[in-house]
């Protein structure tokens, strides 16, 4: 049904595309006992789009994300980020990790955590701090700048991690199950935060999740990963408008339909196999 070409003609101007993933293969180990994880994954992320990659646990989402971020070299295919092939962590790509308690530095204050990646640039300390403050303001943490991450709640820590990504002024933010370690209420708050940040700053977001509701709620497009080794089972456009609310949007017919559609796409290939 939804082939990649039908939805995203490859002729689309390259400048409008932040991520282009072509025939991505990855396997661990070699030859006989190799474990194939990714089998020709293909998709695109348009500039300014919010795309969620959704798939059940163990479908190779983490491997895909590590390849996308340049932390791991895939065994086949290629990834184009911002017009250049990814061979190492590319410039202009910011990561938000699942485990905030491990991805923040407990010896640095909130502000220093946010500005650490900026130290390498040509900014003065003052400019860095201003940029960091602006990002913290964006995530609603202007009052916590001089605290340490471990003094904050889990949700606030993840906000710090998001602020660190924003302060980096990236072309795209890559998020790995960013809300999987917080409670449901906080999770909803953080989802809405990402929607407003994205709207406000116009950045591209690629978010990996196993949660179908989350994927549909956040996305302009949902990229369904399925099978073992994983392939893109479908790319589904989400036309829920730019104004979304946890209660209103999730109560709509369209939301329910999309949810069902994604769920079926996740189940189907597995069902065919068995």
């Amino acid at each position: 049904m939804n082939t990649l070409q039908a939805i995203l003609p490859t002729s689309a101007a390259a400048a409008d595309v932040v991520f282009r993933v072509e025939g991505l293969m990855h396997q661990y180990g070699s030859s006989a006992d190799a474990r194939r994880i990714l089998d020709g994954v293909e998709f695109e992320v348009r500039r300014g789009a919010f795309v969620c990659i959704v798939g059940p646990s163990g479908t190779g989402k983490s491997t895909l994300l590590r390849c996308l971020s340049g932390l791991q070299t895939p065994t086949g295919g290629q990834i184009i980020f911002n017009g250049a092939r990814v061979t190492e962590p590319p410039q202009g790509l910011a990561l938000v990790f699942q485990d905030y308690s491990r991805s923040l530095m407990p010896w640095l204050t909130v502000l220093d955590n946010v500005t650490l990646p900026l130290r390498a640039g040509s900014l003065t300390r003052r400019q860095r701090d201003e940029q960091g403050m602006a990002a913290l303001q964006e995530v609603g943490l202007a009052n916590a700048v001089s605290q340490y991450p471990w003094q904050l709640s889990g949700g606030m820590q993840q906000r710090v991690a998001i602020a660190r990504a924003l302060a980096y002024r990236p072309a795209a933010v890559l998020m790995d199950e960013p809300f999987a370690s917080v409670d449901a209420q906080t999770r909803a708050d953080l989802e809405d935060l990402m929607l407003s940040v994205r709207k406000h700053l116009g950045i591209s977001v690629l978010l990996v999740t196993h949660d179908i509701d989350e994927a549909v709620y956040l996305s302009d497009q949902v990229c369904v990963l399925s099978g073992s080794p994983a392939k893109v089972a479908a790319i589904i456009d989400v036309n829920l408008g730019s104004e979304r609310g946890q209660i209103t949007t999730k109560a709509t017919r369209e939301f329910a339909d999309l949810r069902t559609q994604v769920y079926q796409m996740i189940r189907r290939p597995a069902a065919v196999k068995s």
């Binding site: 340049g70 932390l71 962590p89 910011a94 990790f97 010896w107 340490y148 471990w150 003094q151 660190r164």
Partner: protein
């Protein structure tokens, strides 16, 4: 930055005073006991404490402090600083190269197991009995605990932080200064603490065996000439030196590792 503990906490000052009292009563009792018993039953080997303290004032405030204590302290500080610089520097390098450190680890563990005192004769043959020998001996002896702890600390840096550093393209210099070394600092400090006591032992031993000055030499020569009260006064100075160095170290550690203590108490309290 300190979280409030609730409305009924005692004032800071009164808590301080209590804490001092809790820690101080035993030493006071012990010194008083020593004073009374040594005055009551004086012997050649345990002269009255009063006599020892009189000599302590006479000798160490400040004549011998300058001629005997100061050179020892200078050697100690020099040797320890060298050990710190080399241990942390090499340890970081080895910790960041897992293959190399795996190859070297058994050898390092073996060399570390040789007591510093055991290689003293080698150093005397090679370097004589001057300050160079003492500084080298301290540096070499204090080097190992710092080195091994630094390697261990650097190796166990949270892998997610490596990913953070790599994905944000944080350059090596900042990685070392703001990620690797702070992450390893609790381990480095525990190595440095062991090294400090090793260094104090080594300076005393080196001066006792072959030297013509220094606090260790003073104690040894007092003993040889049966100047027992003088010997005791020197031992008290050594005790005080060790105590002062340890206290300074603890103060520095509390400052540098404030985040670590804060985080661990927080984690324990929250039961996470």
């Amino acid at each position: 930055m300190v979280a409030p503990f609730g409305p009924h906490r005692p004032t800071r000052l009164s808590r301080r005073i209590r804490a001092v009292f809790v820690e101080a009563w035993l030493p006071i009792v012990l010194v008083a006991l020593w004073w009374v018993l040594s005055a009551r039953f004086p012997s050649t080997y345990s002269p009255p404490l009063q006599e020892i303290l009189r000599l302590f004032r006479e000798l160490w405030l400040f004549e011998h402090a300058r001629t005997d204590l100061l050179p020892s302290v200078v050697n100690l500080v020099l040797g320890y600083t060298l050990a710190l610089a080399a241990g942390v520097g090499l340890g970081t390098w080895l910790g960041l190269s897992p293959r190399l450190s795996r190859v070297l680890w058994p050898t390092l563990e073996f060399v570390r197991a040789i007591p510093g005192v055991a290689i003293l004769p080698v150093f005397i043959i090679l370097l004589g009995v001057g300050p160079t020998m003492k500084v080298t001996l301290i540096a070499v002896g204090a080097f190992w605990p710092i080195l091994l702890n630094t390697i261990d600390g650097v190796r166990s840096v949270e892998p997610t932080l490596r990913d953070v550093a790599a994905s944000f393209r944080i350059p090596l210099k900042h990685r070392l200064l703001h990620i690797v070394l702070p992450a390893a600092s609790p381990q480095i400090f525990s190595g440095a603490r062991i090294s400090l006591s090793v260094a104090v032992i080594l300076i005393v031993v080196s001066e006792m065996v072959g030297a013509n000055g220094g606090i260790g030499y003073f104690v040894r020569s007092a003993e040889r000439s049966f100047a027992i009260p003088e010997m005791w006064s020197g031992i008290i100075v050594l005790g005080l030196l060790g105590y002062v160095l340890n206290t300074l170290f603890r103060l520095l550690e509390a400052r540098v590792l404030a985040w670590h203590h804060g985080m661990t108490t927080r984690t324990q309290r929250d039961g996470r």
